[in-house]
């Protein structure tokens, strides 16, 4: 009987140790983070790296938010820290470069970047390498036989030579995302494309912003040139900014709303004051 009692206790102890360790092991299991990094250069404007962290958790792809990513410039196996960026709720982060001269290329004039995540309680560490060369797009608007075209030349900045056979995309900027005008335009032997811009595209004050984009090239990353083109169909701005409306700030309240509630308020409070004076009259009579 006593033996049976001891056996039961030993069995329960072994079981609890097993359960504790297995639950601990479950907690200790970390998921792997996948990093994505894209280099984006906007001509005569900003240069940045678009970073993204995701992971497969319980068989489902999820964005990994609030992780700190460290960005390094790799030069001859030496890592120079450029800075840090933290992912947002969508698992995305953007790291801006002041200009390309703030990072160094290697001996082949290729810029090497490494994005690194140290790991945390939930995720293992990860890193992502990125290499690109410096390219430029020179884009402008031309009119040939009353037809408006955007012409762009893709240049390897390092060698100052034109780049042939690369596909450039032409888009026009819209409110939420750019609208594609022509998707595939290969640069000719002069490294140039010539794309007609359709008539009648609406733009505020008739202005359009045309984008010429070398999209996610293995060699040059993403390079974008913006062209201001005053060739759009004029949009009449129907802004009520200067009018007195229900949605205006307080200094532009519609007059009826200033007059009516104030008249009512003063009238009612006038009566209230009269009633209070009646209390004084009662007190004195």
């Amino acid at each position: 009987m006593r033996n049976q009692y001891i056996t039961r206790h030993i069995f329960l102890m072994v079981l609890s140790v097993f359960l504790c360790t297995s639950s601990f092991a479950q907690k200790a299991k970390k998921d792997k983070v996948r990093l994505k990094a894209n280099y984006v250069k906007i001509m005569n404007s900003e240069i940045y790296f678009d970073l993204e962290a995701s992971a497969k958790v319980d068989g489902e792809n999820v964005n990994v938010s609030k992780v700190e990513l460290v960005i390094y410039n790799v030069v001859d196996e030496e890592q120079l820290e450029l800075g840090k960026a933290t992912t947002n709720m969508g698992g995305k982060a953007r790291f801006k470069l002041k200009d390309l001269s703030s990072i160094k290329p290697d001996s082949t004039n290729t810029y090497n970047i490494e994005v690194s995540f140290e790991g945390n309680e939930s995720f293992k560490g990860a890193s992502k390498s990125l290499s690109f060369k410096n390219a430029n797009i020179d884009a402008k608007l031309v009119t040939i036989d009353s037809i408006n075209y955007v012409t762009a030349t893709l240049v390897n900045k390092l060698t100052d030579s034109i780049i042939v056979g690369q596909s450039l995309k032409v888009l026009v900027q819209r409110l939420f995302k750019p609208l594609v005008i022509q998707e595939f335009n290969e640069t000719d032997e002069n490294g140039t494309i010539l794309v007609p811009i359709p008539e009648g595209i609406p733009g505020v004050d008739g202005n359009l912003i045309i984008e010429v984009v070398l999209n996610d090239s293995d060699e040059f990353g993403t390079v974008k040139a913006l062209v201001n083109a005053p060739i759009g169909k004029l949009i009449v701005d129907e802004s009520t900014f200067d009018e007195r409306t229900m949605w205006s700030p307080r200094n532009k309240t519609p007059l009826f709303l200033l007059i009516l509630p104030n008249v009512l308020t003063f009238a009612i409070w006038g009566i209230i004051i009269y009633l209070i004076t009646n209390l004084f009259k009662i007190s004195k009579s």
Partner: protein, 438 residues
């Protein structure tokens, strides 16, 4: 004269008995718990509540709307019955005025509790935009508080005069206070003329002000272009709902005071019968507006409206919705249609049901709509899809209800709940009529 003395002895404010003391202490305990919870809320911020990006108005706003609705009792019972010369109103008007004052004061306080930064309250006035119904609300609530206080105070003047004399020997300190409050009332013709004229003006004034209050409260919702709120029916819907909440609260409080202070000679079955009929009328009107509010969107079947109404009719809010409609409106109408149903005890039970239904009705007006935004709820924590008040919210809300009851309790302790002078005058008039007939 003997009759007059009896009336005076019966109707002077009475000291609390053992039950009264326990009741007051219980209310104070609830209030203290609520104050502690509120201090914690102010220190930690509204993170202690279960409100979130979607349910950004929670139980505080529901409670605020309930208080605003209940305060309407002053308008419907006092002003309307006074202007229509319904003599049966005499023993219940004071109670209605007291409830009205307590409810509207607590409405003003509750809306401040809902503010994340109450220290910025003044900004509501400094940076007010006349386009916003919130600004109108900020104006109308103090206005209604003022009118309600005047409506309570003016008719009290003769009674304070009587109480001054009554307590002259028994309790000189109290007598002194009543003397100050009576504003040297002697009952002179000049005083009576000013008093009656003033009461008549307030009775006229409180009707538009009361209607404005309820309508603005409704417009806080209906101007927001949200499913369930975006309705031209909303103003009338709120006014009728307020009448139900107000009369329901009145019935309940009248019963309790009748029993506690043994006022069966003054608040009789006849008064309950009248109040019962009044409650039926308000419930029927409110049912009609409910029908408008829910049936038409269901018939026109706009996607968002149908989803919203289905959540109420058959979804997660269905038990509460049907309790409000059946328990808070249909059952009262059915029971009160029978004469036996309009006896004091059934009336009290029905009154409680109506008040409970009215409170949850405001919760149903606020919460389900907020949980159905136009844009799909995506990429947010699961708990944001649901809302149920946190412990802090419950403690604070219960404390505000307790505060309203405490205001009523304190006023009942020091103010005659049935107008003494008016009751005596009516009694005298009645006896005079009898003797003239003989």
């Amino acid at each position: 004269m003997k009759n007059y003395d009896k009336i005076l002895n019966d109707l002077v404010p009475q000291e609390f008995g053992k039950r009264g003391v326990i009741w007051t202490i219980s209310l104070l305990v609830l209030i203290i718990l609520g104050i502690i919870a509120y201090i914690d809320q102010v220190i930690k911020g509204q993170v202690v509540t279960n409100m979130n990006d979607y349910a950004l108005w929670g139980v505080y706003i529901s409670n605020f709307v309930f208080f605003v609705a209940t305060s309407f009792v002053g308008t419907v019972t006092v002003a309307v019955l006074r202007l229509t010369n319904n003599t049966w109103r005499t023993p219940i008007v004071r109670i209605a005025e007291i409830i009205s004052v307590a409810a509207i004061i607590m409405a003003g306080l509750t809306i401040t509790i809902d503010m994340g930064r109450p220290d910025r309250l003044l900004n509501l006035f400094i940076h007010a935009r006349m386009q916003s119904p919130i600004t109108w609300d900020v104006i109308i609530i103090p206005t209604y508080i003022m009118v309600s206080l005047l409506l309570l105070y003016f008719p009290l003047l003769p009674d304070f005069g009587l109480l001054k004399k009554y307590y002259e020997e028994k309790n000189p300190t109290l007598s002194k206070w009543y003397g100050k409050l009576s504003l040297n009332w002697t009952g002179s013709d000049a005083q009576k003329t000013i008093q009656l004229k003033s009461i008549h003006i307030i009775a006229l004034l409180i009707i538009p002000v009361g209607f404005m209050l309820q309508t603005i409260d409704a417009w806080l919702f209906s101007t927001l272009f949200r499913v369930g709120w975006d309705s031209t029916n909303m103003g009338a819907y709120f006014i009728s709902g307020a009448a139900v909440a107000g009369v329901g609260a009145l019935v309940t409080v009248v019963y309790v005071l009748q029993k506690v202070y043994k006022l069966e000679d003054y608040i009789t079955d006849y008064h309950f019968d009248k109040l019962g009929k009044f409650l039926v009328l308000t419930c029927l009107i409110y049912l009609y507006f409910n029908l408008n509010e829910y049936l038409i969107p269901q018939l026109t079947s706009k996607k968002e409206a149908t989803t919203h109404i289905n959540v109420l009719l058959t979804g997660q809010f269905a038990p509460l919705f049907w309790f409000v409609i059946i328990g808070g409106l249909i059952v009262p109408v059915v029971v009160l249609l029978f004469k036996k149903g309009r006896k004091p005890l059934p009336m009290f039970i029905i009154g409680l049901l109506v008040v409970l239904g009215s409170w949850w009705k405001r919760y149903l007006i606020v919460t389900p709509t907020l949980l159905h935004p136009f844009l799909p709820i995506q990429g947010v924590p699961e708990e944001w899809r649901h809302y149920f008040p946190s412990l802090h919210e419950w403690l604070i809300t219960i404390a505000t209800l307790a505060m309203a009851l405490l205001i009523i309790t304190i006023l009942v302790r020091y103010v005659p709940i049935i107008p003494i002078q008016r009751t005596a005058d009516e009694q005298e008039e009645l006896e005079l009529n009898k003797s003239t007939k003989l």
